[in-house]
């Protein structure tokens, strides 16, 4: 089971909270080019949810529901 993550990169301003809280999932290239794993493993769930909660511009969306 993987998580589903998407970042609104128009909104992202490179505050960097996400890659401190979930360094295996979010990575900053240069000053504001954010790269991230859109399908991180379940082991990362707690870290990703912390990152999403901490984002000052609330740019990170994590799936919370079942399918379809």
């Amino acid at each position: 089971m993987t998580m589903r993550v998407v970042v609104d990169l128009n909104r992202c301003q490179g505050y960097g909270q996400c890659f401190f809280l979930a360094p295996g999932v979010f990575e900053l290239r240069g000053e504001e080019a954010l790269m991230y794993d859109p399908g991180p493993g379940e082991a990362q769930r707690a870290a990703v949810l912390r990152a999403a909660a901490a984002c000052p511009v609330q740019a990170i969306m994590v799936e919370r529901t079942g399918r379809p």
């Binding site: 609104d8 990169l9 301003q13 859109p38 399908g39 994590v62």
Partner: protein
């Protein structure tokens, strides 16, 4: 509560919504319909077999190998309780009969329809050359998976044809992978259609600093293969020949409107014309009541840009327009909302974040308001007839909200305020967008005329 014409049942509880197009706009519209209280039957039709996935990572993380192409499935905001028809393209639309025809002949009835069929990659024009092993486009998850496999095999040289956003990001990924890459662009600089050649020249310097063999003002005239059908070389119109094993055609996009031929809607190569509330026009420019459009395929008049019809092929447009379309699909006429979102985009290339707000190609002049182009950290502001219409930032995205407010307020251009880091000698200069008649990779915001009755294509009336 709205009632469907004559039937008397409440649309919100008993109606049928069909969304054709199962990508970002279709998914976000479906979520907004459910969030807005729609409890009827919801069907999403998609030509790809995949559930809705995010495309921006395909030209970045996926090519670099850090993310598998199959893992960009979009998160969902709520449980959609939808019927999915994936891998089945829609082939026709009967507007009076309110039916969508799918490949294979099946028909699905609707009370409200959302057209969100988006765009596809413009293919390499020569079909035989396009079929060579090593020739790619990059639009879908499958395209990205195939290109990633080829890049991982470390080709001796990659040719990127077209230096728009996609082409530039492919070149950036190739250099990060240590692969030799040549970029051939018909315009004078990369990103010329999107930001003009003054700012595009800064992007061109970034290409060269990172070791890209950037060639502007040239066209690729032929791709040649060996006897085994593998790409071996490319010929340019300046007489040079390049030995290449991979060519990526990044030539912009085509709108998926062919399935609407004969529907009587105002749909053609420039998109599906709709009003500011996302309601689709018929071929005579008369608005329909039950057919809506959103995302890359929609073109609608924007009040901030002189009610010019814009077709915006950017991520945030798909998200925001889908929400407005979904709201208006459920709303009574007095509750309808206009789509007023000011276009935005981002592109990450060569370690720099390039972002924009507004429509740069509406501007004739540009002025660097903050920072320095030499440091690749600046804000460039675009003006049209004394008003601010766009801003493009390199590693200065924090300014976008400020300039969005300026654009929405039709603030004066050049901006009258002073900045601590602004040299007094700075003046606006012509932004130098290429002649729209000369084909390049194409801007991702298409200004497509003031009137839905502009007839630059052949309209084929519905038969019978």
């Amino acid at each position: 509560m709205i009632t469907v014409n004559g039937t008397g049942h409440a649309f919100g509880t008993g109606g049928r919504v069909v969304i054709v197009g199962a990508s970002l706009a279709g998914l976000r519209a479906a979520e907004a319909l459910r969030a807005g209280g729609f409890t009827g039957t919801l069907t999403l039709v998609g030509d790809e077999v995949f559930e809705p996935y995010d495309r921006p990572p395909l030209s970045k993380q996926v090519l670099l190998g850090g993310t598998d192409a199959s893992s960009t499935t979009l998160p969902r905001a709520c449980d959609l309780k939808a019927e999915w028809r994936l891998g089945v393209p829609a082939e026709g639309l009967d507007v009076p009969g309110k039916r969508v025809r799918l490949a294979g002949g099946e028909e699905i009835g609707f009370d409200r329809l959302l057209i969100a069929t988006g765009t596809r990659a413009r293919p390499w024009p020569n079909v035989r050359e396009a079929a060579l092993d090593g020739v790619f486009v990059l639009r879908t998850s499958s395209d990205a998976a195939a290109l990633r496999r080829k890049l991982a095999a470390r080709p001796r040289r990659v040719l990127v044809v077209g230096a728009g956003f996609t082409g530039s990001e492919v070149a950036s990924a190739c250099r990060e992978l240590g692969l030799p890459v040549t970029v051939a662009e018909r315009a004078a600089t990369p990103l010329a259609g999107a930001v003009g050649t003054v700012i595009g020249a800064v992007a061109g310097q970034m290409h060269r600093e990172h070791g890209v063999d950037l060639r502007c003002g040239v066209s690729v005239t032929a791709l040649e293969g060996d006897s085994g059908g593998h790409l071996r070389r490319a010929r340019l119109d300046d007489g040079t020949t390049l030995e290449v094993e991979v060519a990526v055609a990044a030539l912009g996009s085509l709108r998926n409107t062919e399935w609407l031929r004969g529907s009587g809607l105002g749909a053609g190569p420039e998109g599906v014309a709709c009003d500011a509330g996302c309601r689709v026009f018929d071929m005579f420019g008369i608005v329909t009541d039950d057919v809506f459009a959103a995302g890359d395929v929609a073109r609608c008049p924007h009040p901030v840009f002189g009610f010019e019809f814009l077709a915006v092929e950017h991520w945030s447009n798909a998200v925001e327009q889908a929400r407005v379309a979904a709201h208006n699909m459920l709303a009574s006429p007095s509750q309808r909302r206009p789509y007023l979102h000011v276009p935005t985009f981002w592109s990450f290339q060569f370690g720099v974040g390039i972002k924009s707000v507004g429509v740069p190609s509406c501007g004739e002049e540009v002025i660097v308001m903050q920072g320095s182009t030499g440091e690749r950290r600046f804000v460039a502001v675009y003006g049209h007839q004394g008003r601010t219409v766009a801003a493009v930032t390199f590693d200065q995205g924090k300014w976008l909200d400020f300039y969005r407010e300026q654009i929405e307020a039709a603030a004066p251009f050049p901006p009258p305020f002073r900045n601590v880091d602004r040299s007094a000698s700075r003046r606006p200069v012509p932004a130098q967008f290429p002649d729209p008649a000369v084909p390049t990779e194409g801007p991702r915001i298409v200004r497509s005329g003031h009137s839905p009755t502009d007839r630059e294509w052949t309209i084929v009336p519905a038969v019978g």
